[in-house]
């Protein structure tokens, strides 16, 4: 792991890990050091636990954006089989920020889709940093309809800073395409599972984010606007002070969204975050997806659609006739 991808608040953890590594190589199998090594290992574990149980909202955002954090294609590699990518949107082009295709997971054939941000600089540039254009959303819907036709469940892995803000995107109807996806997903007659695996950036996330189950990985975030954008508007400038403040105010962590009734499940990450143990988060995510798929495929479609309607219909908090109407999951 390069030192570039070391987050500021992970400094102490990395210092101890470096120390551990040097002890392990230097003193090899010597007896005297094992006590010390054990002590350091324990310390690292407890430090990670303390740190990651108490991440601020802004630190969570940084973890969600970690360059080594597993992305769509890493999960394709780890937990899906026989992925067959489908490229065409039938109108403009192949959006590399949003990938779609057939896949198998456990005993299920599914339509898999999600944003891909890329790990290296070159990948990132190819994928537009996970910011999709209208053609990406059109492709996604085209393949959701295909899934509906053949009763395949749809799995959407969300990981985007937002839909691409550019001239071409506006010319090609970014808002119209996202609006259409949202509308069609509210009534797509097949099970839909959405998981925010990293960044859940506003409309760009919601464009593949309406489903029977909406879940988040523990250190993902999901927000109506980026902390930077919010700070720039409400605090007039986005800097190292206002960004954390905005992140906190927006209530964008998995814990917040669970409390607000917006996400159904929070999928727990390995100690120290998904980037420290991709294999483990892969297993956890797979188990979670299979559990939800097994539940959802037993529900008759009409009932599924009614439940989906009500799930979103209940969201929101407002006052009326002296009483407060709460969002779905709030206490």
């Amino acid at each position: 792991m390069s030192s570039l991808s070391r987050l500021p608040f992970e400094k102490e953890i990395y210092a101890l890990e470096d120390l551990l590594a040097s002890l392990e190589t230097k003193e090899g199998g010597e007896k005297g050091s094992s006590e010390e090594i054990r002590r350091i290992r324990k310390e690292i574990a407890s430090l990670k636990k303390t740190k990651f149980n108490n991440l601020t909202a802004w630190e969570t955002v940084q973890v969600s954006r970690h360059p080594d954090r597993p992305q769509l294609l890493d999960y394709v590699e780890m937990i899906f089989e026989d992925f067959v990518e489908l490229h065409g949107d039938r109108a403009f082009g192949d959006d590399r920020a949003l990938r779609t295709g057939f896949a198998r997971v456990g005993e299920f054939r599914v339509m898999l889709m999600g944003h891909q941000k890329g790990h290296t600089l070159q990948e990132r540039q190819e994928c537009m940093y996970g910011c999709a254009h209208p053609e990406g959303y059109r492709k996604a819907l085209k393949n959701m309809k295909l899934a509906e036709k053949f009763n395949l469940p749809v799995i959407c892995l969300i990981d985007t800073p937002g839909a691409f803000p550019g001239i071409g995107a506006e010319e090609r109807g970014q808002s119209a395409l996202i609006a259409n996806n949202i509308l069609e997903m509210t009534r797509l007659a097949t099970p839909v599972i959405c998981v925010v695996i990293g960044e859940g950036g506003s409309g760009g996330a919601l464009g593949i984010g309406v489903g029977d189950r909406v879940c988040m990985l523990e250190f993902a975030y999901y927000s109506v606007i980026s902390p930077e954008g919010c700070a720039g508007i409400l605090w007039k400038t986005a800097n190292e002070t206002t960004k954390p403040t905005a992140a906190e105010a927006l209530r964008l962590t998995s814990r917040d969204l669970s409390r607000l009734g917006v996400v159904d499940h929070v999928i727990m990450e390995p100690l120290g975050g998904a980037h420290r143990d991709p294999k483990e988060i892969g297993n956890t995510l797979k188990a979670s997806l299979l559990k939800m798929l097994r539940e959802l495929v037993t529900i008759p479609v009409a009932e599924l659609l009614e439940q989906r309607y009500m799930k979103f219909r209940k969201m929101g908090v407002y006052l009326e006739n002296e009483s407060q109407n709460q969002s779905a999951g709030s206490a």
Partner: protein, 283 residues
């Protein structure tokens, strides 16, 4: 279902508009900068006599222009915002709500109800830029959703007039984003029931409003020269660092690129909507 009697801000729709063009005998056109005699502008439906720029009009005025006289019956007026996140920037959301309510004499940024357009019954929803830029918080989402549901139940054509600048209500965080899905679900059901939905885009219609109800119409109309789009111009410039094309994100730009059906002058809006409703009536 609808609470017809209420006092304080919600009452305003039957009263005189409190906001819109600033008070005074003369006003300045925000587009051509001409000094205009207020009375003359008002007599022309708040359209600039010099350059034809369509100025902001408050909800009451919109209702008066679009619907038959005194035909509007407001629904769900008592639906009011609160502060689910305990949001505070430089001032608290609660304080902001109160200030906006005092300024606009409205509980929030949307009004919905039923009325008649040249004798044709319709359900109508309006988002008003004057209240927190017309942004979609829980109240706007709830009112528009209920309006669509009522329209489905009563088998009425649905007409939404959007004047939502930012789209999202940041102070309600993720709940604001979820309103997009909520309203879309209600519109989908209305559409599925075979009823007509006409979306009218006015200046400005951006972000979350544009990426949901505003672009889900069977028919999409826009007033001339309205700013319509997904991302803000500054955000785009910061991302691509390219000069934005002439007329970028205007009604005319959208027409040219195939995303709206017609640009309709304010003076023709009522007539056009009536004609479109007639075309889509099932025989």
């Amino acid at each position: 279902m609808s609470s017809k009697e209420s006092n304080q801000p919600g009452k305003a729709l039957s009263g005189r508009p409190k906001r819109g063009v600033p008070e005074g005998l003369w006003i300045r056109c925000p587009n051509c900068k001409a000094s205009l005699f207020r009375k003359e502008v008002e007599a022309r439906l708040n359209v600039c006599p010099e350059c034809d720029h369509h100025l902001y009009i408050p909800t009451v005025e919109r209702i008066a222009q679009l619907l038959d006289a005194d035909s509007f019956e407001e629904w769900f007026r008592d639906c009011r915002p609160c502060d689910p996140l305990g949001f505070k920037d430089r001032i608290s959301y609660q304080e902001r709500i109160e200030a906006e309510q005092a300024k606009t004499m409205q509980f929030d940024a949307a009004a919905v109800g039923r009325g008649f357009i040249r004798g044709r019954p319709v359900a109508v929803g309006i988002t008003d830029f004057a209240f927190m830029a017309g942004s979609m918080g829980s109240v706007v989402g709830e009112k528009l959703s209920r309006c669509a549901e009522e329209a489905t139940r009563l088998r009425l054509p649905l007409i939404f007039v959007s004047g939502s600048g930012g789209g999202a209500r940041m102070q309600e965080g993720i709940l604001s984003l979820m309103q997009m899905a909520k309203v879309s679900a209600a519109i989908a059901r209305h559409q599925q029931s075979g009823c007509l939905y006409i979306s009218i885009l006015t200046n400005p219609t951006m972000g979350g409003a544009a990426a949901s109800f505003a672009f889900q119409g069977d028919l999409t109309l826009a007033e001339p020269g309205a700013l319509i789009g997904f991302a803000g111009r500054r955000t785009i410039w910061n991302t691509v660092r390219l000069e934005l094309p002439e007329g970028f994100q205007t009604s005319e730009f959208l027409l040219q690129h195939g995303f709206i059906d017609r640009i309709v002058h304010r003076s023709q809006l009522r007539t056009e909507v009536a004609a479109l409703v007639d075309y889509c009536e099932k025989s």
